[in-house]
Amino acid sequence: MAAPAAFEFCLRLGDNDLILSQRLGEWCGRGPVLEEDLALTNVALDLLGQARLWLGHAAALEGRGRDEDQLAFLRDAGEFRNLLLVEQPNGDYAHTMVRQFYFDAWHLPLLEALGSASDPSLRDIAAKAVKEVAYHLQRSRDWVVRLGDGTEESHRRMQAAADQLWPYTGEMLAADAVEASLGEAGFDLEAVGVPWRQQVESTFARATLEVPAAGWMQRGGKQGVHSEKLGLLLAEMQFLQRAYPGAQW
């Protein structure tokens, strides 16, 4: 894998985890059940840990002396490489769980595919993350079924969330030049689409939810063209480092 492509790729993985973790952190102290507050924070913590590993490795690949914090706190929205899916607001719990499920169902096979990457650091980080993400998928899948096949209201909310977030799933599964170049290094990213689709279909069936119809997919996150949401998220997240440039914390 060419160095710039590897850097871009790690940035994408790190940014996905970071932005999604930031969103999940917003639920702290506001969850529907105390046990769930704890469990969701666990997922946020896992993702943050993974983000730090990916961003740290990206910085090393870049070789310009940046670190995980400089990447996280000093890039503007146009330099972030996360999927549009993860920057979508939390909405209600149905939205949060569907967003999580769509992501986890892609994240796990992606990390498993990285097991055959030629870069040992990529393999190591992925190996560590796989265990956590297997649990995340178990969790979010379970919640999709519980809420999808719960009450009439929960079913309605889940279907609405599934439909509203569907246009953000295409971006995950369509490889671009960066990801295509990874294929040359020995593993296939497009193949992730197959288990993803299977997971969504089987889980939605158990959840009595309809898989949304194929339609226009939103794109741009991976290239740094984001929704209006990301700027606001970053304004909050980056505030202290921007207000006190160069300070140690």
Binding site: C28, G29, P32, R52, F73
Partner: protein, 314 residues
């Protein structure tokens, strides 16, 4: 007060001998009610306490600080859970305890009604508020009621990093830029007195203290803990290079303790009564979370019922 019955005497004898009281043991109603109130207040405090700190998770200045804060707030949810669990062994339901919290009937620690205005506040909370809490909690590991004592042991084990992370935040700020040092001093100025109030009113004003001490539900007096806290914390402030906002603070060689100024108890009582800066917000946030989560809880129950019925229908 009339003469104690034989049952009350034998109950007190168990306590005096250090034998733990366990769920379903015979116990005076006063003991049970005092414990329910004390444990549930503690649980509510952990839950409400997530909010002032949760306020800064999104703005933590480094990824490491963000992770640490997330872990801390998660621990607090866990502590609330252990404590509701302990309270439930006394024959109340978590549902009823939460209802009392949301209606404003139940109390929680006054300290969480103060706002977190800067990142330094997160440091001050860890250092002072968790410091005060630990001071209160360690003796409770020896309290007479088994489930409560065991919950406290678990909590104390997890709490040790909470205070250290707060102190560390301030340590870095105090050796940082002048603006950061000023941020730290400002946080101490605002959190010092409310932290002292955490130990409760002076002993002579505390009506339930004597009975709670006898029952080993309360193991050290309010004033005793408060003095210990001041003695321990002032040298730490000195180390940080921060000034404790108390003109009357002075080491008393004769007593072997710090003398400190008068606490504004009227503020404490107003905050307890609901007039603190954040009481309404804290309660409103909890009410909203509970209300918006209702459909989720109903869905969970509905799904579980369906699975059970499906299992029986063959």
């Amino acid at each position: 007060m009339g003469t104690a019955t034989a049952t009350e005497l034998s109950f007190q004898a168990r306590i005096d001998e250090g034998i733990k009281i366990e769920p379903k043991d015979a116990m005076p109603e006063g003991y049970r009610q005092t414990l329910i109130r004390q444990i549930s207040q503690h649980a509510h405090s952990e839950i409400v306490g997530q909010l002032p700190e949760g306020n800064w998770i999104g703005r933590a200045p480094t990824l490491q600080r963000k992770a640490i804060l997330l872990a801390k707030v998660q621990d607090e949810a866990g502590h609330g859970l252990y404590l509701y669990s302990a309270a439930e062994t006394l024959g109340v339901s978590r549902h009823d305890l939460i209802a009392d919290l949301l209606s404003g009937k139940a109390k929680y620690s006054s300290i969480f009604n103060y706002p977190t205005l800067t990142w330094a506040d997160i440091g001050a909370i860890g250092w002072l508020v968790d410091g005060a809490a630990i001071m209160n909690q360690i003796p409770l590991c020896r309290c007479s009621y088994g489930p409560y004592a065991r919950a406290m042991v678990r909590i104390c084990k997890e709490e040790s990093f909470h205070q250290r992370q707060g102190f560390d935040i301030l340590r870095v700020l105090c050796r940082g830029t002048p603006a950061q040092k000023a941020m730290a001093q400002d946080a101490l100025n605002r959190w010092w007195w409310p932290s002292l109030m955490m130990f409760g009113p002076p002993d002579e004003q505390s009506s339930h203290s004597a009975q709670s001490m006898q029952w080993k539900i309360k193991l050290v007096s309010n004033d005793g803990l408060r003095q210990k806290f001041v003695d321990q914390t002032v040298p730490q402030a000195d180390f940080l290079g921060l000034r404790v906002p108390d003109a009357a603070l002075q080491w008393n060689e004769e007593r072997g303790h710090y003398d400190f100024g008068a606490i504004a108890w009227e503020e404490f009582h107003q905050v307890i009564r609901g007039h603190g800066p954040c009481n309404r917000d804290r309660l409103a946030t909890r009410q909203q979370a509970h209300h918006e989560g209702a459909w989720v809880r109903e869905a969970l129950n509905a799904h579980a019922r369906k699975q059970q019925e499906g299992a029986h229908a063959v």
